[in-house]
C-alpha cells in the first residue's frame, strides 16, 4: 500500500524511545492504516553507538563479563532484568556450579528457592500493575508497589541491598538468613492473599478491563513455540511448560506447585496466569521456611566459597583462601554449559563457555524478553496504537535484559 501517487498509504509513526509507558527505552515503528496498526516493528538491540537516533541501550554486558572473574561477573546479572534480580543470579550461579560439578548444600537450595519465589511475586506485581497503568488503571500500581516494598525489605534484610543483591553466588548463597526473618515472612504472607484478592477485585471481573484485554495480543500455541516464547507467554496459549516442573532444579521437585495454564493466549489469560502464579509463589514461600534444614549455606570447598570473616581474621589458610578468591577467583573447568531457570519472565538461560581459566571465555545470555519482543508485530496486528504499548507490557519486557 505504499504508492507515491497521492493514493492512500500507510502512515508510519515512531513510538518511543522516550515514552511514559515504554518500560525503559522502547522504540517501535508503527505502520498504521487509520487507527489500526498494520505492522509494528520493534527496534531493539543496537551493537555500537553510531546509528541514527534509535533507542535501545546495550551496555556491553556480555563483553564486560569476559573481562571479569566469575564472582565479579555476578552483579552484571542482577542488572539485566532489574525487576527480578535474583533469578538471573540464580541462573549464573547454577551454570558455574554445573561446570564445577559442585554440590550446593540443602539449606542454600531452600534459601534460593525462597528468594526466587519472592522475586517472582515482586516481578509479577510490578509487571501486571504497570501493564494495568498502561491500560489506564492507576490504582493497582500503587497497591502493588506497597507490597513490593515489603518484599524489598526482605531482600534488604538478607543481603543488604534492596534491588541488586548479589546474593545467590556460585556455591550457595552469600549470607544466612537473619533471626526473625522467617517469622516476618510468614506473617506478611498471611496478608498477601487478601492483597491479591483486592487487586483481582479491581480488575478481573471489570467490564472495561475485559474489553481492553480479551482477544487482544493473542498468540497461538504454535506461534509461541515457533517464536521461542517461554514462561507466561508460553503458558498463555495452553502449552504447559514450566522449568520448575519439567526440568526441576534446586528443591523445586519437593515443593508443591501447581502451574496455571491459559486457554486462549490473549492478554486476559496472561494477566490471570500472573495473578495465579503470585498465589502459587505465596504457597511455596509458606512451605520453604518450614522445610528448610539447618546447615551450611555455602559449599564446603574453600577453593570456591570464601570463609566467614571471623575465620578469615583468625586463621592463616582462611586468610589465604579469602585473598585468592577475591583477587584471582576460582577456575572453572573447560567445557561449556547451558543452564536455564524459570525466571518470572520466562526461561532465562546462560550459555557459559569456559576455557579452564578464572574468567569466562564467553557468556551468552538468553533473555526471555528478547524472544518475546519479536512477537510484537504479530500480536499487535489489527489493533490500535494504544494496544501496542500495552502489548509490550503484557509481554513483560524489560529492556535491560533484551539489550544487555
Amino acid at each position: 500500500m505504499t504508492t507515491r501517487n497521492g493514493q492512500i498509504k500507510n502512515f508510519t509513526s515512531n513510538s518511543g524511545p522516550q515514552h511514559p509507558a515504554a518500560h525503559g527505552v522502547s522504540r517501535s515503528v508503527l505502520e498504521m492504516n487509520g487507527e489500526v496498526v498494520e505492522r509494528a516493528e520493534p527496534h531493539i538491540g543496537s551493537l555500537q553507538g553510531i546509528r541514527p537516533a534509535g533507542a535501545h541501550p546495550t551496555r556491553g554486558t556480555e563483553k564486560l563479563i569476559e573481562y571479569k572473574t566469575y564472582l565479579q561477573a555476578l552483579p552484571y546479572f542482577d542488572r539485566l532484568d532489574y525487576v527480578s534480580t535474583m533469578a538471573q543470579e540464580h541462573a549464573h550461579s547454577s551454570a558455574v556450579e554445573r561446570l564445577l560439578n559442585c554440590e550446593v548444600p540443602l539449606r542454600a537450595q531452600y534459601i534460593r528457592v525462597l528468594f526466587c519465589e519472592i522475586t517472582r511475586i515482586s516481578n509479577h506485581s510490578l509487571a501486571s500493575t504497570t501493564h494495568a497503568m498502561d491500560v489506564g488503571a492507576s490504582t493497582p500500581f500503587l497497591w502493588a508497589f506497597e507490597e513490593r516494598e515489603k518484599l524489598l525489605e526482605f531482600y534488604e534484610r538478607v543481603p543488604g541491598a534492596r534491588m541488586h543483591a548479589s546474593f545467590i553466588r556460585p556455591g550457595g548463597v552469600a549470607q544466612d538468613l537473619p533471626l526473625g526473618l522467617c517469622r516476618d515472612i510468614d506473617s506478611s504472607t498471611q496478608q498477601f492473599a487478601s492483597r491479591i484478592d483486592e487487586l483481582e477485585e479491581m480488575s478481573t471481573g471489570n467490564r472495561i478491563w475485559k474489553q481492553r484485554l480479551v482477544d487482544i495480543g493473542t498468540v497461538t500455541a504454535q506461534q509461541a513455540k515457533d517464536w521461542g516464547f517461554s514462561g507466561v507467554m508460553l503458558r498463555g496459549p495452553g502449552v504447559c511448560w514450566d522449568s520448575r516442573r519439567a526440568a526441576p532444579y534446586d528443591v523445586h521437585n519437593q515443593s508443591d506447585l501447581d502451574v496455571p495454564v491459559g486457554t486462549r493466549g490473549d492478554r486476559y489469560d496472561r494477566y490471570c496466569i500472573r495473578i495465579e502464579e503470585i498465589r502459587q509463589s505465596v504457597r511455596i514461600i509458606v512451605q520453604c521456611p518450614n522445610q528448610m534444614p539447618s546447615g551450611m549455606i555455602k559449599a564446603d570447598d574453600r577453593k570456591l566459597c570464601p570463609p566467614s570473616r571471623s575465620r578469615m581474621k583468625l586463621s592463616m589458610e582462611s586468610c589465604a583462601h579469602h585473598f585468592e578468591l577475591y583477587t584471582e577467583g576460582f577456575s572453572v573447568p573447560a567445557p561449556s554449559t547451558y543452564t536455564a531457570v524459570e525466571a518470572p519472565k520466562g526461561e532465562f538461560g546462560v550459555f557459559l563457555v569456559s576455557n579452564g581459566s578464572n574468567r569466562p571465555y564467553r557468556c551468552k545470555i538468553r533473555a526471555p524478553g528478547f524472544a518475546h519482543s519479536q512477537g510484537l508485530d504479530s500480536m499487535s496486528k489489527h489493533h490500535m496504537p494504544a494496544d501496542v504499548v500495552t502489548i509490550i507490557g503484557t509481554q513483560d519486557i524489560v529492556f535491560g535484559e533484551v539489550d544487555r
Binding site: T2, R4, N10, T12, N14, P17, Q18, H19, P20, G24, V25, V29, E31, E41, S46, Q48, G49, I50, R51, P52, A53, G54, A55, H56, P57, T58, R59, G60, K63, L64, Y67, P75, Y76, R79, Y82, V83, L126, F141, L142, F145, E146, R148, E149, L152, R162, M163, H164, F399, G400
Partner: protein
Amino acid sequence: MNLIEFPLLDQTSSNSVISTTPNDLSNWSRLSSLWPLLYDTSCCFIESASLIGSRFDFDRYGLVPRSSPRQADLILTAGTVTMKMAPSLVRLYAQMPEPKYVIAMGACTITGGMFNRDSYSTVRGVDKLIPVDVYLPGCPPKPKAVIDALTKLRKKISREIVEDRTLSQNKNRCFTTSHKLYVRRSTHTGTYEQELLYQSPSTLDISSETFFKSKSSVPSYKLVN
C-alpha cells in the same frame, strides 16, 4: 505613644502579610513544585518508580511526574545512558524550558558506574552531555537517598540569584572539550522529527546521498560522533 509595632510579628495579622524578596519568592515557588520528567532507562527507574508509589511519595515535595519535556523542569536521569540514547537525552534536555535542573541518579550517570571500565557503548557520566546540579551516588540509590538529593536540590534552588541565572543561560554550560569534529550546522533547525522517522521500504532504493541532501538538517549522530 510612639510604640513601634511590627505588624508582621503580631499574631492577628501574621497571616495576612508576607514580606519577602522577589528572588526568594521565585525560588520558593520553583523549589516547591519541581516537576520531573519521566526519564527511565534502566534499573534506577525501579527505585524512582518507588518514589511514585505510596511509601516514598515524592508528591509530598511537589513532584508530579510529567511525560513531556515541555512540561517538566527536573530531569532525574535514572539509568545508564548509552551512546545510542545520548542524542535523545540531549534533545529532551533542550526541549525542557528554563529554569531546568538535573539530578544525575545512580553510579551509571555519574561516571559510567560498573560499565565504566570496558563498555563499548556507555557514556561515562551524563555530565558529558548535560549540566548536572546534584550527583546522587548509589547503585541503585535507595528512594530515601533520592529524597535526600531532592532536598539538596531544593536547598540549592533556594540559594539561587535570578541575575546569575539569566546571565548564564546564553552560554554553553555543558562540558566541552576540543574534539576534532567538524560541526556543520546547529541542531536547532525546528525539523526535529526527521531523523526519527522510519524509512519505509520504498525509500530504501534511493541512494543515501540524495536522501541526505534533500533533508535540511544534519542527522544528530554526525554531531555527536
